[in-house]
Amino acid sequence: MAKVIDNPRPTAKERLNKTIDSVQGSQAWNSIFRPGSIFRKGYTDSPRNRSYVVMNSVLYHLHPVKVKRHAVKVSYTLCLGGLSFFLFILLTVTGIFLMFFYRPEATAAWNDIKSLQTSVAFGLLVRNMHRWGAHLMVLSVFLHMARVFYHGAYKPPREFNWVIGVVLLTLTLLLSFTGYLLPWDQLAMWAVAVGTNMMGYTPVFGSQVRFVLLGGVEIGSETLLRWYVLHVLMLPFVIVIFMAIHFWRVRKDGGISGPL
């Protein structure tokens, strides 16, 4: 006679499911993941949840819940604006890492970079990513501008957002240029010398402009400190404000332009 088992031992899969259920049912879990989160219990792909995913996420709610169908075509935007923003985030993260190993002094800067490359774990890789990412961001912001122009996306009601975009392009160039000096090698110093000499020809205030930029009459330790603060604090602060206005205006002006 076969033995009847009333309570068979739960299989590993059943136990796993039970654990997941209890975690997802807990108060802590539900306090962290708001309704519509794909991590919440019983998430289904319903129109309601699709809206909640965007509305209830601090990152995604930069986006509206719905967008024009043509706007999600990669061939229209080439993702250039989004990638510029993404590269800015990437540069912020790698830049914070680099700040741990860098002193903006003429006597220390170059050696800090050298030892960052040789004796810090992943130091060389992160510095490379920061450098190439910066060049890539200049390129992507520039291409984004060209894309917007060729689509006529600067036309009413988006005129002012175009102006903000040009400001963002200028700020991107300035961020890249101020960062250029920081390694304090021959390339950095003389590139900046060429650049600041040019700015010294500003009419009327030429020499004053140059003095303010260099913190003296020649490139030196003061220049390095000045450009360091501009690079890691002031310009990022300003560009974030302009980016916030830029993204906000995209939505206020009726979303992305087009279709053509």
């Binding site: 719905k66 043509h70 450098r131």
Partner: protein, 251 residues
């Protein structure tokens, strides 16, 4: 007005099918509607009386012609409003007023999709691809780090970062104030003013041939200058051919 969500369309479709299925049996049940407990007894009484009257006047009337029979019966009933739908309902739908006729609806139909997953998935893939590209490029190509800065030793040539090399190239042709301030200043200012100068409301490429060509010339102007400055300038910022004299360019 702008669109009808998919799930509502589905729901409407299901309701329509259900109604179609019900109406088949409704015609048969119309005669024995007394069983429906939701309709007050006096209303049922009135509708039955009206029906009996109309049948008396016009003979046998099919259930499908009931509306017509009610209209015909109205004068005979002496001004008492009567009406009977299937199941003894006494209300009739006179008209449907669509929202567009009484509201100022400005929105034109727009084809929209949910941001999640349609846009976020694309963005995620783009961000991943970008990170992967940057990662592998950085693994294989090192950022330059030359000798320690030395104010007493000017490298030959000294070049600005690549995006300023167009300006440096202009320096070879114009006075520094023109090349370094006036021309880039005008270019930047023109760029800022572009939407206020360009009064053409169309964004169709075929309507914007002038604007498109002007911008292309502008971009090409800078691109060519940057390329010359980057690759075709050697010691003393003299013109060189990179395939003959080598490359004098650091990123």
């Amino acid at each position: 007005m702008t669109e009808i969500p998919e799930h509502l369309l589905k729901r409407a479709q299901a309701a329509r099918e259900k109604a179609a299925a019900d109406s088949g049996g409704g015609a048969d049940a119309a005669g024995g509607e007394a069983a429906d407990p939701r309709i007050p007894a006096h209303l049922l009484e009135r509708s039955r009386a009206a029906k009996a009257k109309s049948e008396g006047d016009g003979g046998a009337v099919a259930v499908a012609d009931k509306v017509a029979s009610v209209v015909a019966a109205a004068p005979a009933a002496g001004g008492v409003p009567v009406g009977a739908g299937p199941g003894g309902h006494t209300q009739r739908l006179l008209t449907v007023v669509k929202s567009g006729s009484i509201q100022d609806v400005k929105a034109t139909p727009v084809d929209k999709v949910h941001t999640w997953p349609h846009l976020l998935a694309v963005e995620f893939v783009a961000a991943l691809a970008c990170t992967a590209f940057l990662f592998f490029f950085s693994v294989f190509v090192n950022a330059p780090l030359l000798q320690l800065a030395n104010p007493n030793q000017t490298p030959n040539p000294s070049k600005a970062p690549w995006y300023f090399l167009g300006l440096q190239e202009l320096l070879t042709m114009f006075h520094p104030m023109v090349a370094g301030v006036t021309i880039p200043g005008i270019a930047l200012f023109a760029l800022i003013l572009a939407p206020y100068i360009d009064k053409n409301p169309s964004n169709k490429p075929e309507d914007r041939k002038f604007a498109t060509s002007l911008m292309t010339v502008h971009l090409m102007f800078w691109a060519v200058l940057v390329m010359i400055g980057s690759f075709f300038r050697g010691p003393g910022f003299n013109f060189v051919f990179p395939w003959r004299d080598g490359l004098f360019f650091e990123l």
